[in-house]
């Protein structure tokens, strides 16, 4: 099956600034693909390229096997694409219903009920007659998503879709996206800087940094990329460090105690406990801990050095 989204060596420069640098990626039908990156990594530029809003300096962008052009290219591809780019926007003097009606007309949807269906699907019934200028950020985001999904597209491109939503809204949108992908086979490309959120919803993740796709991994592979370490607390950390050093391990200090990154220690923590007890400094706390996703990400994009103990580095940063 051919990919729904295909980018081949796509670059975009603005003067001397290289916003995207030779990015290639494929998104298969039914996938939820997440673009992950810091602010300014190139996520929005990539999304705008995908939607034909900006033209690539080099490379080719295809949607459903058809090249994406500017305004004059074949428009029929957009019948199947919904999108939400950057902050959600709406005509402030129009009501929620009228804003959706504008989209319905521009998308040439004959069925007027699509507006009411979207209002219900996104929990906007209570606000349907309210002017958009009086909506909270969360409800504006819901309206943006309703606009993106009004025509039940087979591909939806969402830039930071859970921005501004409260925790209940985040869960609701996450479940909705998972549902749409599983039940209707909808393909989703979303961007986010919220790693934990991405890990919950995406089937594949592409990490963008300074315009380059620096890593691409399945959600299941994410766990194998994060580092594990042994956290140890004792009553005398100096003495415990000496004991563990003598045992051939490489402990470092953390704010709350010691961190032992050695694989031996992570795989056999009981040996560490034995060494400490035998040395006369029994531990008060021993736990195997994983890097959180943020740490993994920061290490990947070079904000944290690859060989550094991440916990210590983060402690210093704080």
């Amino acid at each position: 099956m051919s990919p729904v989204i295909s980018l081949r060596g796509v670059s975009k420069t603005y003067g001397d600034v290289r916003a995207l640098d030779a990015v290639s990626l494929d998104v298969e039908p039914g996938e939820i693909y997440a673009l992950l990156g810091l602010n300014g990594a190139g996520k929005t530029t990539l999304i705008r390229l995908l939607l034909g809003m900006v033209r690539p300096t080099a490379g080719q962008v295809e949607l459903a096997g058809r090249p994406v052009g500017g305004g004059s290219a074949d428009r029929s591809v957009w019948e199947h694409v919904g999108y939400l780019v950057e902050t959600p926007s709406a005509y402030p003097e129009l009501t929620v219903r009228e804003n959706l009606e504008v989209v319905r007309r521009l998308r040439r949807l004959p069925d007027r009920r699509s507006v009411e269906d979207a209002i219900d699907l996104f929990g906007l019934r209570a606000y349907a007659g309210r002017r958009a200028r009086h909506l909270s950020l969360g409800n504006l985001q819901r309206l943006g998503l309703a606009k993106a999904l009004l025509h039940r597209p087979s591909l939806v491109v969402l830039d930071e879709p859970v921005n501004g939503l409260d925790p209940a809204g985040v869960v609701e949108i996450r479940n909705l996206l998972l549902d749409l992908a599983r039940e209707r086979g909808m393909t989703v490309l979303l961007s986010s800087h919220l790693l934990a959120e991405v890990a919950r919803v995406a089937s594949r993740i592409g990490v963008l940094h300074e315009g380059r796709l620096v890593d691409e991994l399945d959600a299941t592979a994410l766990a194998s990329r994060v580092r594990t370490r042994l956290e140890v607390r004792t009553r005398d950390d100096d003495r415990a460090m000496r004991i563990l050093g003598d045992a051939g391990l490489h402990p470092t200090r953390d704010i709350e105690g010691l961190v032992v990154p050695d694989t031996d220690a992570v795989e056999r923590p009981e040996a560490v406990v034995t060494a400490l007890v035998t040395g006369g400094e029994p531990p008060t706390h021993v736990a195997v801990a994983e890097d959180d996703l943020e740490t993994y990400f920061l290490r990947l994009v070079g904000v944290l050095p690859h060989d550094a103990d991440t916990t210590e580095e983060l402690s210093r940063e704080r």
Partner: protein, 263 residues
Amino acid sequence: MNGDIATALGAEVLKARRSLVPWVTLGAFTLGGLVGGLFMFVMQDPDRARSLGLLGTKAQVFGGTADWTGYLSLAAQVVAVGGLMVFGLALTWLFGREFSDRTAKDLLALPTPRAAVVAAKLLLGLAWCLLLTVYLAALTLLLGVLLGLDGWSAGVVGHGLGTIFAVALLTGFLAVGYGLVASVARGYLAAVGALFLTLLASQVVAALGYGAWFPWSVPALLSGAGGPGQPLPGAVGIATVVLVGAAAVTATVIWWERADHDR
């Protein structure tokens, strides 16, 4: 394409209907019409003009006559000068609001072509200008009848109304340029600046005697705002206005189709 334009026009009408801006432009034209009527009222009776003080003095600055010819000429001048501002603001709003409301991006990846969206905005702008002109013409006729102005004849009124609509059409062409500026600059401010700049330039160039060939002076000169000493613009002057309008339409479509929409 016609179906696409009709689709986009439906959406544009819905957006405009809820806005205050059409009412503001209607208010401006109402004011223009009423001021014209007031001028006529003052000029009909010089004693009344003197008793009105400053307003009377200002009213007599207008070199026309207190009859149907003078009144319709005054209305044409309102359309030429006030219209450039009002029509210009309308076109500026139609395009600039998409950037200030950050909704422009929602118009770019749709089955409805961008050119159709632009065409719908321009058609709505043109219809808007036309309706305002019809309204001003009707208000002028009503006030003229109420004032009991002299000099009514089918020829005089036909010529006066013809001038008003010709001036409105030319002014509408020029107004497209402000929609282009609002698009390229992605907001209202530059377009409003361009509006004031061209208004100023039209006055200066007309004062220097070259207004008949300067597009932004042509509608005002055609309306008779230059006074009896100024030659009316000929075919060349009118052609420059049409060219400016056509170039603005083409450039606006090309910009929406081909520019990098990165904001």
